[in-house]
């Protein structure tokens, strides 16, 4: 066809209204980011402001002093939090990932829907109720409070989040990747473990870290499970201190020195959580191949 248009198409003029709208929307989206980040920055700045004065070597290495004496620290609570979180992760992460694998690879049916529903409900159960469950499951049988009971409570809280994110991340792995593996004569379970799971690793780790960060600062489920302890304890079957419990106790106390220590404890707790999440992220990035 050989034709010329009667009127040539004009070079598209971008009107001042479009420019203005563009600028406005960009400004608005930057503004929303700032609004979202402000509380986080404010909390962290305030914690540093209030807590850094009481943060010293003694705080990180000593156990609490008896009531009335000034000084001492939360070293046992830092260790206790680490211990309880380790127990919770050891139980919660494999269970959660396993449930996620089930939901994505074998749960496209009514049974899977039931698991999905229960998991979403569990996600919404108040943490104090989970504490009561762990109390009934572990504390009542053992006949005393323990780090193990605290770990069980936090593990129960981690499972639904990890299960659902694992499921979503596995579903994002294209079917063509699974078919490539089947085509090589690799069995279904091998494909799931070595191909599908591996392809979804970074997303699953994000889910695990979200769940970890969420339970790391929990107080309510530990109140009558780990219970707290003024002394060092490395026995899983004994009552154990935790930073969140220590902060709770100290913040409610009438002593100024304890208030200051509670601030320092909160600062340490949030730093540890941020540090752990950052460390895992860096480790994951480090292991990646060029172009992956």
């Amino acid at each position: 066809m050989n034709s010329t248009l009667a009127t040539p198409i004009p070079v598209l003029q971008i009107s001042w209204r479009r420019r203005a709208t563009d600028r406005l929307m960009t400004a608005l989206s930057i503004l929303t980011v700032l609004i979202v980040l402000t509380p986080l920055a404010a909390i962290f700045a305030y914690l540093v402001y209030k807590g850094v004065a009481s943060l010293n070597l003694a705080f990180l290495t000593q156990t609490p002093k008896p009531v009335g004496e000034v000084g001492g620290g939360m070293a046992n609570a830092i260790a206790g939090t680490g211990m309880i979180l380790a127990i919770a992760s050891l139980m919660g992460v494999p269970l959660g990932i396993g449930a996620g694998i089930f939901l994505s690879e074998y749960g496209r049916n009514r049974y899977g829907d039931a698991v999905r529903f229960v998991s979403d409900v569990l996600n919404g159960v108040p943490s104090i109720v989970i504490g009561i469950v762990a109390y009934g499951l572990v504390v009542v049988r053992q006949k005393h409070f323990s780090a193990l009971a605290g770990g069980v409570a936090l593990a129960i809280m981690m499972v639904p989040t990890i299960a659902r994110t694992t499921e979503q991340m596995l579903l994002l792995v294209p079917q063509s990747i699974r078919e490539a593996a089947y085509g090589l004569g690799i069995s279904h379970w091998r494909t799931t473990l070595s191909i599908t799971l591996r392809t979804a690793t970074s997303g699953i780790i994000t889910g695990v870290m979200l769940a970890f960060a969420r339970v790391a600062g929990e107080t309510a489920p530990l109140l009558f499970t780990a219970f707290g302890n003024q002394y060092w304890n490395w026995d899983l079957r004994q009552p154990t201190a935790a930073l969140s419990l220590q902060i709770y106790t100290y913040a409610l106390s009438p002593f100024d020195d304890w208030h200051r220590q509670a601030w320092a404890g909160a600062l340490v707790l949030i730093t540890l959580i941020v540090g752990a999440v950052a460390a895992v992220r860096i480790a994951v990035r480090h292991g990646k191949l060029a172009g992956a």
Binding site: I177, L184, I186, A290
Partner: protein
Amino acid sequence: MGVGITVEHLNAFYGKTQALFDINLAVQANHATALIGPSGCGKSTFIRCLNRMHETIPEARVEGSVRIGDLSVYNGTSATQLRRRVGMVFQKANPFPTMSIYDNVAAGLKLNGFRKRKLLDEVVERSLRSAALFDEVKDALHKKSGASLSGGQQQRLCIARALAVQPEVLLMDEPCSALDPISTGKIEELIFQLKEQYTIVIVTHNMQQAARVAEFTGFFLLGKLIEFDKTEKVFTNPSDKRTEDYVTGRFG
């Protein structure tokens, strides 16, 4: 060495919809056989019945008999066992994105329990050479992800990965449909060389490609095999009117 394929009274279904109707055909060992036909005619479904990939789709099922060499595909052979002898290359290159080039090629052996390092090194190099990719990637075997290669290289990587498990048959489902003419040329050259060792079944939309690489051609229409003969015969003197309409471009 390649082996022949015999298909008898093959019917394939997706739920209640029948996709293939009573297919009978014999593929010769160490030759390339092309399957042509319009979109949705069942050629991909057919090729996926040969390595039991069809049944990985929910509610899909197959009736009839397929023999690959001395193996009865739907009678007493496990799908994983079968697929180690019948390799497959897909329409869209699908390297494992988190694995290095080396691991991509070695995956079929490694994940089936093969661990001898020296042997793996040998197989990986040989397979990459067979797929005409070795020289382009030899410096980055362990450093680069399979997904970092260009589209044409990725497809050759997938061919190398299929060859590494040393199959007897290689199924190719439109392997060049997403590639430029140069990459397509390389893969067609490859098919010529691979014929010496493998039996090749290739699905293609490109009739020139079928004419170039295959000794035998089958024409599918609406789930039926209309004609199956020597490629030359199918393209120059087809016995069915519908085949003639299709290959001359007068179709639909």
